[in-house]
């Protein structure tokens, strides 16, 4: 998995060595057309928000007119209609989500219900792998790269120069699974403050500079061993991204929450607004959704572990969207949430819920066709239901909601209609595209300004 970054890195070295005293962004950090296949011409960005642990979709977007959503299935976790932010005559958002409700009213939020995959797996690790890698049980063996990583590998993997900040794990201590690629190592930036290589503290500057230059040079020595090559490439990415991260100039007027999610989205915003770089996919993660116990507090829908998470999500996404809207960038950003599964329809006796299957996800941005997609959840364990749009929502199976939209179809919609790429059949497998994704696409037409497919991909110019 060699990366040929040395050529463009060396071009900027000049005679002074890698680290000069002027802390400017090196002019070799170029905006590259080959930083994920984006044919929109608008430099569009995808922001992935991972809700880790299995988000309880049923309490996030509540089907309040459904008589089966009641105190029988949810004795202590039932959210009363009066507390909800009603978004249409069937659904209401959890009381903790006022900013999302307002954005929904502005037409900037699509909520896709009943998202899942066939033969759902209730293991965190197996199901997270599926969602990150864009595959499902019984599907073709596509390798263990992330779905975004595979999209990158297949469309831009042979590009000679790729912006090291094409994809970033903001607030991550390792590369997010969705971004894992063969031909590219995304920087993981746990925090800006500590994202800096020390030369030699307390010693004369000439020594520190020498150490940094030699450290850089060591990671440029040719290697035959693939593991050594991989490590050195990762070091190169680290160094290249440090130069950018330590010189971020954008400071939003909007105040972001001081929570981890808030600060990670702030970093995303600063990367989006930074001149001279072209990030394409940014990834953040919010942990804690595995609410087996204490998911809620009986009688207080605003309290409990799940509402606390939703408050954080609401405030952080709200700040992020306000920030992007204020700077005129909301139209080129698409935010996509995902979680490895939903939760069981019937709550348990620890004021919690066990692992489930199908659930909702959010797609947000300035070019979204707002609305609720995928039909209503079917809470009946005895009868299938036909959605007004004509497709079938199967009954509850083994206590869990059934899916009508395969999550890979959502991803494919992003690849096709957000980035305008034809890569989806290659990324997910032709048989999956033909048999699963293509039939789903009419149910999830949530992007307003799609990209014309007539434009020629970059590689045909080279």
């Amino acid at each position: 998995m060699p990366l040929r970054r040395r050529d463009f890195i060396r071009a900027g070295l000049g005679g002074l060595g890698y680290f000069s005293t002027a802390a400017l962004v090196p002019d070799w950090i170029i905006r590259s057309a080959a930083a994920i296949e984006d044919l929109s011409g608008e430099n569009r960005i995808l922001v992935i928000v991972q809700l880790e642990g299995g988000n309880d979709g049923l309490n996030t977007l509540v089907p309040y007119t459904d008589p089966l959503y009641n105190s029988d299935i949810r004795p202590t976790l039932h959210v009363p209609t009066a507390q909800l932010h009603l978004i249409d005559n069937l659904n209401g958002l959890h009381p903790a989500l006022p900013a999302l409700a307002e954005s929904y009213g502005d037409g900037r939020v699509a909520i896709i219900q009943n998202v899942g995959y066939p033969n759902p797996d209730l293991s965190h690790f197996v199901s997270t792998d599926y969602w990150e890698q864009g595959r499902a049980p019984g599907g073709p063996n596509l390798g263990t790269q992330g779905w975004v990583g595979r999209f990158f590998d297949q469309t831009c993997g042979s590009a000679p120069d790729v912006d090291p900040l094409t994809m970033v794990g903001a607030g991550h201590s390792r590369i997010p699974g969705s971004l894992k690629a063969v031909t590219y190592s995304a920087p993981a930036i746990a925090s800006v403050a500590t994202y800096q290589i020390q030369g030699a503290a307390g010693l004369p500057a000439v020594i520190g500079t020498r150490r940094l230059n030699d450290l850089h040079a060591l990671n440029d020595v040719p290697a035959a061993d693939p593991a050594i090559e991989f490590i050195q490439n990762s070091a190169n990415v680290a160094e290249a991204s440090i130069a950018v991260v330590q010189n971020l100039s954008y400071n939003p007027a909007v105040v972001y929450p001081s929570t981890k999610l808030g600060q990670d989205l702030l970093l995303c915003s600063r990367l989006i607004h930074q001149p001279g770089i072209a990030p394409k996919v940014l990834h953040v993660r919010q942990a804690g959704y595995d609410t087996h116990a204490d998911q809620g507090v009986p009688g207080s829908p605003g309290l409990g572990d799940h509402p606390a998470l939703l408050i954080d999500l609401n405030d952080a996404l709200g700040a992020f969207m306000s920030d992007l809207a204020a700077s005129g960038n909301l139209d080129r950003v698409l935010i996509l949430t995902f979680s490895e599964f939903g939760r069981r329809v019937r709550q348990n006796d620890s004021d919690g819920t066990d692992h489930g299957a199908a659930s909702i996800l959010f797609v947000l941005g300035g070019r979204i066709r707002g609305g609720v997609y995928g039909g209503q959840p079917n809470l009946s364990s005895t009868e299938d239901v036909m959605d007004p749009a004509g497709f079938i929502v199967p009954r509850v199976q083994k206590g869990n909601l059934s899916h009508t939209v395969d999550f890979r179809s959502v991803y494919a919609r992003v690849i096709e209609s957000w980035f305008g790429s034809q890569a989806a059949p290659g990324v997910f497998g032709q048989s999956v595209y033909d048999g699963i994704i293509f039939p789903d696409l009419p149910k999830i037409d949530f992007i307003r300004a799609t990209v014309s497919a007539a434009r020629t991909p970059w590689r045909e110019y080279h």
Binding site: S173, A188, Y195, A200, D214, V221, I228, I242, D349
Partner: protein, 497 residues
């Protein structure tokens, strides 16, 4: 015994030498400096080999020398006598890893912590007494984690049956995976699922019905109350019906806790369990891609019934002794195949450079080190989730590498690697030649050959220190060693073990 795990026998063409001894100590512990490797190699005979492995692998329950050293040091500014917070507890454990006489005890405890993962944050959130007293609540949570760690340390090289029962009843685990709430008629599935999926058998080896039935078996394994948070089996919580679990019937027993032991026996009798655990051990200690034959042979060792009680022994001391004496372990294809975890990296630096607790107290104190490892994604008692950490290539990313380089830089300073300490490496310095300096530190830190391009850079680095205007010979010598330590720990080679 099959072929792969047959014992390695030293020969002229395949000797017991420093290369193999370094491999052994990198894997079972956290590395050893040349002087110790020389002792382990001895005369290179089969007897010396066996003695070396046994010395590394067989250890008493209590490391008396380590306990004395810890007792002498703790209580000062850089390590408290009684850990009451997450980082002080992590600091204690790092001290043990750095100075253990038998470091396998600590490496194995780390393996089990990763295997039976629990998260401090989640446990701390469930400690609510005394109300309003955050410090006391944190101290209580820390005590629970400390007891959990001691359980793993004490039982980690014993038999799996006892270990599984003990961890099922451990208060930290009961809180973490909610089994204290597992009550008849209102089953809580969390622990039952993970017990099979993560702790013994692996994914997809059981059905959802098995999860529900095992949950019923485990009802009643709970806590005495929310203040003391001690283990108590509560018969009134227990589901007294018959259960059908993994194809076997578990008849009601009195007390119901006897059924837990029976469920553990059923789990251990599944063929997949020995394979799952053999594979995990090999992935941790030998190669991320375990050889299938080696897995089968090691699984058979786990299943051995030496005490003839009709049940598989799952004895880890015996199993690991076989593994670390095996030809498989010393095959070339298994050298430098594992990526160092952040803990490996940090403790390596301490052990390979021969740093003492007093030196580290200068600024990289033990809490600081625990905190720093958290920044690299491997905070002790802070795995990302119940599946433990993701190892291998996942450790190699920008934030991890930056933090590793910075840890090496911090250590390579005059307050930790003091001039007096540096003189101990080469008593006749600063006259020692650059070639000798480089060779010694390559041997000490890298333990294999460097590429020509790397030695060129390091030689040029030393030359540039030699040309510094106004520096004395001694200062140049110090700068060269700090430079070597910092830069060698930043090479790609040093990230592998």
């Amino acid at each position: 015994m099959g072929d792969r795990l047959a014992s390695f026998v030293p020969s002229i063409s395949d000797p017991w030498d420093e290369r193999k001894a370094a491999h052994l100590t990198r894997r079972v512990g956290f590395g050893a400096p040349p002087a110790q490797l020389t002792l382990l190699v001895g005369d290179g005979s089969a007897a010396a080999f066996n003695a070396a492995v046994e010395e590394q692998v067989l250890y008493p329950d209590v490391d008396a020398a380590l306990e004395a050293r810890l007792a002498a040091f703790a209580g000062g500014a850089s390590l408290t006598a009684n850990p009451t917070t997450l980082y002080t507890l992590g600091g204690h454990w790092l001290f043990r890893m750095a100075f253990a006489t038998r470091p396998l005890q600590e490496q194995l405890t780390l393996f089990w912590h990763d295997h039976f993962a629990v998260e401090f944050v989640k446990i701390r959130g469930k400690v609510t007494y005394p109300p309003g007293d955050n410090a006391a609540q944190t101290a209580k949570a820390t005590t629970l984690l400390r007891d959990y760690m001691e359980l793993l340390r004490l039982r980690g090289n014993k038999d799996f049956r006892t270990l599984l029962l003990a961890i099922t009843r451990n208060p930290a685990m009961l809180l973490y995976l909610d089994n204290y709430l597992n009550v008849a008629g209102r089953a809580q599935e969390n622990y039952a699922r993970e017990l099979m999926e993560l702790f013994s058998m692996g994914v997809n080896q059981y059905t959802e019905d098995d999860v529900r039935e095992l949950s019923r078996v485990l009802t009643g394994e709970s806590l005495d109350d929310r203040i003391n948070l001690g283990y108590l089996f509560r018969q009134p919580f227990h589901d007294t019906g018959t259960k059908n679990f993994l194809g076997q019937t578990v008849a009601p027993q009195s007390p119901g806790s006897l059924e837990t032991a029976e469920a553990v026996d059923i789990i251990l009798s599944q063929p997949v369990t020995s394979r799952f655990m053999a594979s995990k051990l090999i992935e941790w200690f030998v190669n991320p891609a375990p050889d299938p034959e080696a897995v089968e042979e090691l699984a058979a060792v786990l299943r051995a019934d030496a005490d003839s009680d009709g049940r598989p022994d799952f004895n880890f001391a015996e199993t690991l002794e076989v593994l670390f004496k095996s030809r498989y372990f010393y095959e070339d294809a298994n050298f430098f195949t594992l990526y160092k975890t952040p803990v490996d990296y940090g403790v390596n630096i301490v052990r390979l450079l021969g740093l003492t607790e007093t030196q580290l107290a200068a600024d990289v104190n033990w809490y600081g080190l625990a905190f720093l490892l958290g920044g690299m994604g491997m905070g002790l008692f802070e795995p990302p989730n119940v599946g433990g950490w993701i190892h291998g290539e996942a450790w190699i990313n920008s934030v991890n590498l930056i933090n590793r380089y910075n840890l090496a830089e911090r250590v390579a300073r005059s307050d930790i690697m003091t001039p007096a300490f540096l003189l101990a490496y080469f008593p006749d310095s600063p006259a020692t030649s650059n070639a000798t300096l480089l060779e010694d530190f390559r041997r000490r830190l890298i333990q294999r050959s460097l590429r020509t391009g790397e030695t060129d850079i390091l030689n040029a680095h030393m030359s540039s220190m030699d040309s510094l205007a106004g520096a004395t010979q001694l200062q140049k010598y110090n700068l060269k060693i700090w430079g070597l330590a910092h830069l060698l720990c930043a090479t790609a080679e040093f990230q592998m073990k």
